[in-house]
Structures are given as structure tokens and as C-alpha cells.
């Protein structure tokens, strides 16, 4: 299958390793990945911060870039939620019927990474090897918007050598919330503190999630507090094989 990758603006800039890992896993499974160079951003940050006018051109551009793509893989649950939950409304509010049509054609082709593997490709064992202790944080968008359920956990359980430790209060928000993290730093920090306590209590070497936004928040504290616990995107664990098993 030809799978079109929407890397997301922040992964592109700050977490290119996640993109490389997604490519590695999909190619290992025998698929072809295409990367449409014109892509930029889904518009979530602007939309959620109240700059909906500025988000509209970003949304139009996204729809334009991915027109005709059979399957689009997105290693970020929050971006998928933005597209699924808000693009139809944005198009309707813009009063643009062609855009609405393009959006309703596009939205069913969008998959978050774990959704793509488990639901679309029907795969839970991607042939990965990662002999470390890992705990999984469930991002709010993957939990409550996408309802990914236990897909990420299923994928992790099939990784050879990996021990998956349950994370207490895994359904509680890490405190990132996009611009919330800088507009309400004290509350963001307090929420993060609770999340970090839970992670440390699992005695895991690695904390993983399907969203680098959460991992940036969580990793920022794990590293500042010198906990020795590292963060890795789910795709990077799944890309790990015998020769690359170092976190």
C-alpha cells in the first residue's frame, strides 16, 4: 500500500526521529511511504488558541496537499483529532461547499499511527525488539477524541523483550494542552508533577506515548529532575530491532 505521511509541523522540526521510525516500521511491513513536500501544519495550535481565522488557510492548504492520497498516517493523536473533530465544522462555517466535500472525502483516510497499524493494516506484531521496561501514557486526544482504546498497549505487548508496566492514573492529563503550558505554567507544572510521580512509581526506564507534545512536557520534567527516565514516541519503540535496541 502507498501510505502518505503527515509528519506534523512540530515532529518535522523537533522530533524528526519519530518520522524516521514511522517510515522504518511501515517499510518493514512492506508498504511504500510517500511524503508530500508541500505539507506544513494542520492548524491546531492557532485554532485551539482562538485564532480560528488564521487556522483556516492552514486547513485549506492541508486539504489541498493531501487530495487524492489513499491513506494518510499521522503520528500525533491531537492532530488527527483536529482534523476529524474540527475540519468539517470549519469548512461548513466558511460556507465553502466544495471544501466541505473535500473534507468529508479526506477525513476517513486519516489514521493515527496505532489506528493505522491495528485497524487498517490489521497488525499488532510489527517485529520489534526492545528489551526494556516501559510505561505508557495515554494522551487525552487518543483517549477521548480518537478512542484508540488499548491499541497502543497491544502493539507494545508484542514487542519482544519489552516489559509493559501499567501507569497509575494514565487517563489524567499531563498538563501540556498546547499554549496552556505557557499561558498557565503554574497549573501546567502542578499537573505535570502528578504525572511524573506516577511515572516514577512504575520503575520504568522509558515513558512512551503516541504524542510527542505530551512527551515533550513529560520529558522536560523527567530530565530537569534528573530522574533517569527517558521518553520515546511509540513509533520509535516499534521501529527498534535487534541492532537498534538502545533507548
Amino acid at each position: 500500500m502507498i501510505i502518505s505521511l503527515f509528519i506534523t509541523c512540530y515532529n518535522d522540526t523537533l522530533f524528526p526521529e519519530t518520522g524516521k521510525a514511522v517510515v522504518a516500521v511501515l517499510e518493514r511491513l512492506g508498504h511504500t511511504v510517500e511524503f508530500r513536500r508541500a505539507q506544513t501544519c494542520c492548524g491546531q495550535m492557532h485554532y485551539n488558541t482562538g485564532y480560528q481565522k488564521e487556522a483556516l488557510p492552514l486547513m485549506r492548504h492541508f486539504v489541498d496537499v493531501f487530495r487524492g492520497a489513499e491513506i494518510i498516517c499521522v503520528p500525533s493523536a491531537s492532530c488527527v483529532a483536529m482534523i476529524r473533530d474540527h475540519y468539517p465544522k470549519m469548512a461548513a462555517q466558511a460556507g465553502d461547499r466544495l471544501l466541505s466535500q473535500q473534507v468529508s472525502d479526506l477525513v476517513p483516510r486519516i489514521y493515527e499511527f496505532s489506528e493505522l497499524l491495528v485497524d487498517k493494516l490489521g497488525v499488532t506484531d510489527v517485529g520489534a525488539f526492545f528489551p526494556h521496561t516501559v510505561t505508557l501514557h495515554t494522551s487525552c486526544h487518543s483517549l477521548r477524541s480518537l478512542h484508540v482504546g488499548d491499541k497502543p498497549a497491544q502493539l507494545l505487548r508484542h514487542v519482544r523483550g519489552l516489559t509493559l508496566n501499567d501507569l497509575p492514573a494514565s487517563d489524567e492529563c499531563c498538563g501540556f494542552g498546547g499554549t496552556f503550558a505557557v499561558k498557565n505554567p503554574d497549573v501546567s507544572g502542578a499537573m505535570l508533577s502528578d504525572k511524573v510521580s506516577c511515572i516514577i512509581s512504575t520503575n520504568s526506564e522509558v515513558c512512551t506515548a503516541g504524542d510527542n507534545s505530551c512527551l515533550m512536557q513529560i520529558g522536560g520534567a523527567l530530565s530537569r529532575q534528573k530522574t533517569g527516565v527517558r521518553t520515546m514516541h511509540l513509533a520509535e519503540i516499534l521501529a527498534s530491532t535487534d541492532s537498534e535496541a538502545k533507548p
Partner: protein
């Protein structure tokens, strides 16, 4: 006309209020414990209802329907209530409501009233208006009594005094009730409240209440409670005045079958709360012989007019969203500067004030969605928060630096060449802040990040640059 939501118009912005309140360790412990307890109870009683989602959907639709025909239902309620011997008044804003209620009390030459919980009266600041007119209001909900005697403000919709521990409550009671001695067990404290208030229940001639539901078809009013002070204030005085927000109306008596299942389970985690009182107009020989309903707008029509956020008015004041909210859990209710705190407060408070005040409240959320999950009437609070943020920005409520950063980002994200350009610029721009692969002491708003979180430096090669190189290599 001026709408008022308590003192929300002059309250400090949420981030500042939150910062200050979070230094209060006792408050944080109490809030955490209280919300955990109610969450657990709610979970249990909701879990035993296989039709919970259907009840939520029906509750949502009944409310939405009522709002869409609110003029009809309010008039129907008025006629039915009057037919049963009640009197109905209409108040455009807080001052109207306070004046009407004060007038009724003065017309009876009374100088004391007993009050059962009504947040609506906190909204209008009724107690201040009564006191200014020489009328003493006695709060009779235990928590509101604690708040009133402690000269304090409520911090939660359902458990307003959860920021107080029993030793503090004991101190307040000893002093204000003029007691010689008082034990410190919760039972001792509730017994003291019982005695203190009983004297007033049996004597005071005027009661003031709110309402949970007002039934259009029959003119009945319903008050949902746990302690019994509601029944006292609703059935013992000679004159009863109920202050009712216009959004409290529901079409038929039968619709109660939905809300009396949703509310107790969501609010206190019970199958049924101890007491519900339903009464219609005046009943000869039983209870108040004069009954007044004051229907209140005070900004609700602003909410009604915005089709995207109209469902804010579906709220049945259960408090479940507060208990679920990870932000509320850290700060408690006072941080919202309003009678209405937590997620519902964040959307209701600014809208009642026509978005003129409380503009920091729509941002007091990480948009995690926990509130929407537990809302018994399915208000999509995260969606409304984002919508209100848009309104704040449109009105010019955003800080200049943020507007600039957003416009710059929008420019940079408009196309691939600009994005690549911006990435390169950022990699150059970060150099003064880069140490060992980390970014330290970032300027401006970004310092809010680095003050307690590490920030990795921007990698030397973006994903798209890696891909381009890989394509080139493959072509060789």
C-alpha cells in the same frame, strides 16, 4: 442594563489567582481528596446504569429543545404557576432581581430571611443588597453557613466549603454562634449547626430559595437537596421567594424522570439524594401561603443568542465537571473568581458578562475533555472553550506578544518553503540559548516553559530535510 456574576468582573486573572492559591497546601489536599471521593462514588452509581448514555442523550435533547423554545415555555410556566396561586416576576439583571426580592420582603415588614442554597443569588449578590436594606439573610446550607460565618467565598458548586477543615469550622462556629464549648468531630459540628438553625427555621417568616427545575406544563418547582434545610425553608415560612434562572425551565413533569436520575448520580454519587421537594403555587393549609418566583435573565440571553455555545445553558449544576477536571483539582474554585468555577464556570462566567470580563477563564483549561465525558447533559465544554477563545481574540483580548507570535507562525506555516526557512532561522536563533543539546533561559513567554522543564535543542536536520536527502541518495 448590567449583568453581574458575583465579583467576577474584578477578579484577578486565572493564572495569577491559581498561582497564589496553589501555595495553600490544605486547600489543595482538601480539593484533591473531595474530588477523588465524589468521583469514586459517581463512577460506582453510574456504572450500574446500563442506560446511562441514553439518559444523557435524552437529558441533552430535552434541555436543547427547551432553550430553542424558551419564550414559549417561560410563558407557559408563568400561567401555570399563577393558576396555582403563585406570583411571577421577571428580572432583566442582578439589580432587578435584588430589588424585586427586597421589595417583597419589605412589603411584609420583615427584617430576616432564611435562605436555602441558591448560587443564582450569589450571582446577583442578593445578600449584600438585603443587608443594605436592613434585612438579615441566614444561609442554611451547612457549607454556605460555614462560608457565611467565616466571611469567605464558596469554592465548589456542590461542596462549597471543601477548602475548610474541621478545626477551622469549629473555630468559626465557636466564635460566630457564641458557643461555650464545642467538640471537633464532624457530628459535633453538624449538631451545632442543627441547633443554631432550628431556632431560625421555626421562627423566620420569609424564605428565599433557588430552583433546580421549573416545570412549564404544571407550574411546579423542584428543589433537590441533602440536608433538610431546603424542606425547612420551602415549607415552614409564610412567604417563599424562589429566584430561578430562565434556563431552569423544563417542558413537562415527566421530564423529571430523566433529570432526577442524572443529577443525584452526577452530583453526589447517590442513586437518589435524601430529599426532593416539588410544589406548585400555594397549597392551603400546608406551607407558604404566598409564593413568588423571580425569573432571571442576567446575561443568559447572551448565551442563548450564540448558537455555538447555547448549550452552556443545558447545565444542571451537578458539579461533575469540577470533580473530573485536572486543572480544578490543582487550584480549587476560588481561582476562577466566580460563583461558577471549574469547566462550567470557565464557559458560563464570561458569557453571562457578554465576554466583557473573565477573559482568562476560557484559557484555564488544557482541553483534556474529562469534563465532557462526565457531563450528564453532554455539554461539549472543550469545544465551547475553543469557541470562546476565538471570541476573546476577536475582541482584542489577546496579549500583543501572543498575537504577534501567532501571526508570525501562521506566516511561517503557510507553505513548505516558508516552513523550511523558519526552521533554519530557528536553528540559528537558538544558538545563544543552547547548552549541551538543551535550550536554557528562553525569552518572553517561552521562559514559562524552561523555568521548570528542559527543552531539547532543535535538531540539526528536520524530517523533511532527511527525506529530501534520502530521496537524493536513492536516485543515485
Amino acid at each position: 442594563m448590567s449583568e453581574r456574576v458575583g465579583e467576577a468582573a474584578t477578579a484577578p486573572a486565572f493564572p495569577d489567582a491559581a498561582k497564589r492559591l496553589m501555595t495553600n497546601q490544605q486547600l489543595r489536599r482538601n480539593v484533591r481528596h473531595a474530588t477523588e471521593v465524589i468521583r469514586g462514588k459517581r463512577s460506582k452509581v453510574v456504572g450500574e446504569m446500563p442506560d446511562w448514555e441514553m439518559l444523557r442523550e435524552s437529558g441533552h435533547q430535552i434541555k436543547e429543545h427547551t432553550l430553542r423554545h424558551l419564550d414559549f415555555y417561560l410563558e407557559q410556566f408563568e400561567q401555570a404557576c399563577m393558576r396555582a396561586g403563585g406570583q411571577v416576576h421577571w428580572a432583566r439583571d442582578a439589580d432587578d432581581a435584588n430589588q424585586i426580592i427586597t421589595g417583597i420582603i419589605q412589603s411584609h415588614n420583615e427584617s430576616e430571611v432564611i435562605k436555602v442554597k441558591t448560587m443564582t443569588s450569589d450571582e446577583t449578590r442578593l445578600n449584600s443588597a438585603l443587608e443594605a436594606a436592613g434585612i438579615t439573610p441566614y444561609e442554611t446550607d451547612l457549607a454556605d453557613l460555614i462560608v457565611q460565618l467565616g466571611e469567605d467565598k464558596p469554592s465548589h458548586i456542590v461542596v462549597p466549603a471543601l477548602h475548610r477543615n474541621k478545626m477551622e469550622i469549629r473555630e468559626i462556629f465557636l466564635k460566630k454562634m457564641k458557643l461555650d464549648a464545642l467538640g471537633d468531630r464532624p457530628e459535633d459540628l453538624t449538631n451545632a449547626a442543627r441547633d443554631y438553625l432550628r431556632e431560625k427555621f421555626l421562627r423566620v417568616k420569609v424564605g428565599v430559595s433557588g430552583a433546580n427545575f421549573a416545570i412549564a406544563e404544571t407550574g411546579a418547582v423542584c428543589v433537590v437537596e441533602s440536608e433538610g434545610n431546603g424542606r425547612m425553608c420551602l415549607s415552614l415560612p409564610q412567604v417563599l421567594i424562589s429566584l430561578v434562572g430562565i434556563e431552569k425551565v423544563i417542558p413537562t413533569f415527566n421530564d423529571l424522570e430523566v433529570f432526577l436520575q442524572l443529577l443525584p448520580r452526577s452530583a453526589t454519587g447517590e442513586r437518589m439524594n435524601p430529599y426532593n421537594s416539588i410544589w406548585t403555587g400555594v397549597t392551603p393549609g400546608d406551607g407558604p401561603q404566598e409564593f413568588h418566583v423571580v425569573l432571571l435573565d442576567n446575561g443568559r440571553i447572551h448565551v442563548l443568542a450564540d448558537t455555538e455555545s447555547r448549550e452552556t445553558l443545558d447545565c444542571i449544576r451537578c458539579g461533575a465537571c469540577l470533580n473530573a477536571c485536572p486543572v480544578y483539582r490543582q487550584t480549587g474554585g476560588h481561582a476562577y473568581g466566580s460563583v461558577y468555577g471549574g469547566p462550567i464556570g470557565a464557559i458560563l462566567t464570561p458569557q453571562l458578562q457578554n465576554m466583557e470580563h473573565s477573559q482568562s477563564l476560557p484559557y484555564a483549561s488544557s482541553l483534556c475533555g474529562a469534563c465532557y465525558e462526565v457531563c450528564p447533559v453532554k455539554i461539549n465544554i472543550p469545544e465551547i472553550l475553543v469557541h470562546l477563545r476565538g471570541k476573546v481574540v476577536e475582541r482584542g483580548g489577546a496579549p500583543f506578544s501572543e498575537k504577534l507570535a501567532m501571526k508570525t507562525a501562521a506566516f511561517g506555516l503557510a507553505g513548505p518553503a516558508r516552513l523550511s526557512g523558519m526552521q533554519k532561522l530557528a536553528r540559528i536563533g537558538q544558538r545563544p540559548f543552547e547548552h549541551d543539546g538543551e535550550l536554557r533561559n528562553l525569552p518572553g513567554m517561552l521562559s514559562n516553559w524552561t523555568s521548570f522543564r528542559d527543552m531539547p535543542a532543535i535538531p540539526k536536520e528536520s524530517f523533511r530535510e532527511w527525506w529530501a536527502k534520502r530521496e537524493q541518495d536513492e536516485m543515485k
